[in-house]
């Protein structure tokens, strides 16, 4: 299958390893990956901070960039959530019904990575090898906007060598929330503190999730505490094999 990669602005600029892993994984499964270079950002930061009107040009740009593809995949539950739940709504609010229809069509074949693997490709064992103790944080938007349910866990359980440990209070928010972490920094920190406490209680070497943003937040906190637990995106685990160097 020909798959268009929506890498997301955060992964492009700050976590390129997540994009590289997604490409590696999809190619290993025998699919052709294309990277539409015009892509920028889904506009979620604008929408969720109260600048929905300013997000409309970004929606238009996203739709124009991706609408020609039959399968669009992003390694982010949050950005796919924005595409699926906000794009058409923003266009309609701005009175652009044509754009809303096109946004809906584009969203209907946009998938978060674990959804794409399990629902579209029908694979759970992607041939990965990752011999570490890992705990999984189901990010809020994957969990509640996309309802990815246990798909990431099914993928992780099929990874050879991986010891999956349950995260207590897994479904509680890590406290990131985009600009929330800046506007309500103290509350965000308190939420993060509890998330880190739960992560450390699992004695996992790595904490994984389907979103770079939440991992950036959790990783930023763990780094400050100087604990050994590291953050690793789900795509990176699934891309790892016995032969791959690195994490």
């Amino acid at each position: 299958m020909k798959v268009a990669l929506f890498v997301t602005c955060l992964a492009d600029g700050l976590f390129p390893e997540v994009g590289r892993a997604t490409v590696t994984l999809l190619e290993r499964l025998g699919h052709e990956v294309v990277f539409p270079k015009a892509q920028t950002c889904c506009g979620q930061m604008h929408t969720n901070t109260g600048y929905g009107r300013q997000a409309v040009p970004l929606v238009r740009h996203h739709v124009e960039t991706f609408e020609e593809f039959d399968a669009i995949v992003a390694p982010s539950g949050s950005c796919v959530g924005a595409v699926r739940h906000q794009h058409a709504m923003l266009a309609r609010k701005a009175g652009d019904d044509d754009l809303a229809v096109r946004a809906e069509a584009t969203a209907s074949h946009t998938w978060e990575l674990s959804e794409f693997l399990v629902d579209v490709l029908g694979v759970e064992d992607v041939g990965a090898h990752y011999p570490h103790r890992v705990t999984y944080h189901p990010t809020c938007h994957s969990l509640r906007l996309l309802r990815v349910q246990d798909k990431p866990l099914r993928l992780l359980r099929a990874v050879r060598g991986l010891h999956l440990v349950e995260l207590p209070d897994a479904d509680q928010c890590c406290g990131f929330g985009g600009t929330f972490a800046v506007k309500n920094a103290d509350t965000s920190t308190a939420m993060l503190a509890d998330k880190m406490k739960n992560i450390m209680s699992t004695r996992a070497e790595s904490v994984t999730a389907g979103d770079s943003s939440c991992l950036m937040h959790i990783g930023g906190g763990l780094s400050r505490l100087r604990v050994g637990t590291r953050t690793v995106h789900l795509a990176e685990i699934l891309a790892s094999t016995e032969n791959s160097v690195g994490r």
């Binding site: 890498v7 992964a11 492009d12 600029g13 700050l14 390129p16 390893e17 997540v18 994009g19 590289r20 490409v23 990277f35 270079k37 015009a38 920028t40 950002c41 506009g43 930061m45 604008h46 929408t47 969720n48 901070t49 109260g50 600048y51 929905g52 300013q54 997000a55 040009p57 970004l58 740009h61 609010k93 809020c140 938007h141 969990l143 509640r144 479904d171 509680q172 928010c173 406290g175 929330g177 985009g178 600009t179 929330f180 972490a181 800046v182 506007k183 309500n184 920094a185 103290d186 509350t187 920190t189 308190a190 939420m191 993060l192 950036m216 990783g219 930023g220 906190g221 780094s223 400050r224």
Partner: protein, 489 residues
């Protein structure tokens, strides 16, 4: 988007009632976050209710269908709210009650005070009611020389402690039993001096105190959970039986309710009486459901007044999106699952309506500029929507109100705020892949300032982030550059 309903939008007035705090949410939250006792009390209590609720919701096979039904009944009712209210007024009047219409808190307080003074009484008993907290009724009555005694146990603890409620269902959630014992010993006349902090002993002390109030009070004030339009029936659901005492023993009963509490028929209650107790207290059925219709000679109060309160509700109804908040049945399930509420407690919201629902209700009742920090007091995690028994899409409402706030700000100020300017710039950059790429390259200039791939501090306003977190440094090569290097050959 808002609709002009043919009358000026009246918001809850300033200077009265419990809808406005002294400081913005982030500031008030900072103080609350430092109170470890408060955080422990609230964390323990919300976890207990959360687990109870989850268990009883799990038992209902058609829970999702019930939620849908609740949502639809509410939406249909709001679409014809004016008709239902007129029907209610006619039915209440026909059954011997008197209906009063109050545009706002001041009008409602004046109506109630006059009704009480006309009976010649200066002491009233109260059933726990959110709307009387909203309008600041107790304070208004006190100014007229009338003493109002709260009869709900938790509300009594708050009242005796000269405190404010911090949860709509469990107003004293921020107190533990040792604190309650102290309050009783200090404030409750005739309390046994050897009172311990055993819950049963505390309850018995309150019971003795309240029993005497019930038996002497000639006037009671209540709120209402529901009003059935076609029969003119009012309902209060509660757990302690104190409500039933107030609703049956006094000679005069004054009920004040927000206009959104009306449901068209008795049949509609079937849905809500299943949704409410499981969502709020985690019970299959609430222990006391009291319903009364007008007055009945020789049985119960012989004078009944119903005060219908607007106080910003019509203005809220005029907002096509925001009006959904009026579907709320005040169950508090959203509070108990909210990670923000769990850590800050209710007082940080500055309103008697805290938590996720408060963050969307309060700014609409007062006008958004009086509570503009509240729609931002959420990480948009969505747990509130999943818990809401009538499926109010609170995260979307929060986003909608954030937008209303930024738009009103843009209208008021000729120069954009620093935030608006920054986001415009980011938006402009992101509209073009060329500009986005240039920004990524510019970002890389900061690399030499990073230590082991991370920043320990960032400039304002991102410094708020690095007070407790390290920020990632830009990588030597972006994904885009990697793709071009490895694939575009």
């Amino acid at each position: 988007m808002s609709t002009f309903l043919g009358m000026p939008a009246i918001h809850a007035p300033r200077g009265v009632g419990g809808l406005r705090g002294d400081e913005s949410f982030p500031k008030a939250a900072k103080a609350a976050l430092g109170d470890t006792q408060l955080r422990a009390n609230i964390g323990r209590a919300t976890r207990t209710i959360r687990e109870k609720r989850a268990a009883v919701v799990e038992e209902v096979p058609d829970w999702e269908e019930l939620r849908l039904a609740g949502q639809q009944v509410k939406a249909a009712t709001m679409a014809r709210l004016d008709d239902h209210l007129r029907t209610l007024e006619e039915a209440v009047t026909r059954r011997g009650g008197v209906v009063h219409w109050a545009r706002d808190a001041n009008e409602a307080n004046a109506i109630i005070a006059d009704l009480i003074l006309a009976t010649g009484e200066t002491e009233v008993v109260k059933v726990k009611s959110m709307v009387t907290q909203e309008i600041g009724l107790n304070e208004a009555l006190e100014a007229q020389g009338i003493t109002a005694t709260e009869t709900d146990l938790a509300e009594l603890i708050v009242q005796l402690g000269h405190d404010k409620p911090s949860h709509i269902l469990v107003p004293a959630i921020h107190r533990n039993r040792a604190e309650v014992r102290e309050i009783f010993l200090r404030e409750m006349p005739g309390v046994p001096p050897d009172l311990t902090d055993d819950p049963r002993q505390l309850a018995m002390a309150a019971r003795a105190h309240l029993r005497q109030k019930f038996l002497t009070a000639k006037v009671a004030v209540s709120g209402a959970n529901f009003a059935v339009a076609d029969s003119g029936t009012l309902l209060v659901v509660e757990s302690e039986g104190n409500g039933r005492m107030c609703l049956t023993l006094p000679e005069t009963l004054i009920t004040v309710m927000g206009i959104e509490k009306v449901v068209p028929t008795w049949q509609d209650l079937e849905v809500f009486l299943q949704l409410l107790p499981r969502s709020s207290t985690g019970e299959r059925m609430n222990p006391y459901t009291s319903a009364w219709t007008g007055v009945t000679p020789g049985d119960g109060p012989q004078a009944f007044h119903l005060v219908l309160l607007d106080n910003g509700r019509t203005a809220t109804l005029g907002d096509h999106v925001g009006r959904e908040v009026l579907h709320c049945i005040k169950c508090s399930a959203c509070m108990n699952v909210c990670p923000v509420y769990e850590r800050t407690g209710g007082h940080a919201y500055g309103s008697v309506y805290p938590g996720p629902i408060g963050a969307v209700l309060t700014p609409q009742l007062t006008g958004i500029e009086d509570n503009s920090s509240l729609p931002f007091a959420s990480s948009l995690c969505g747990a509130c929507f999943d818990a809401c028994p009538v499926r109010i899409d609170i995260p979307s409402l929060l986003v909608h109100l954030r937008e209303r706030h930024t738009e009103e700000q843009a209208k008021e100020h000729r120069l954009p705020t620093p935030e608006a300017a920054a986001l415009s710039l980011v938006g402009w950059v992101m509209q073009s892949p060329r500009r986005f790429r240039m920004a990524e390259t510019a970002l890389r200039m900061a690399r030499p300032f990073a230590r082991s791939g991370r920043f320990r501090s960032l400039p304002f306003p991102l410094s708020a982030w690095t007070t407790s977190r390290d920020a990632p440094a830009p990588p030597p090569e972006t994904f885009r550059e990697w793709w071009e290097r490895t694939r575009d050959q």
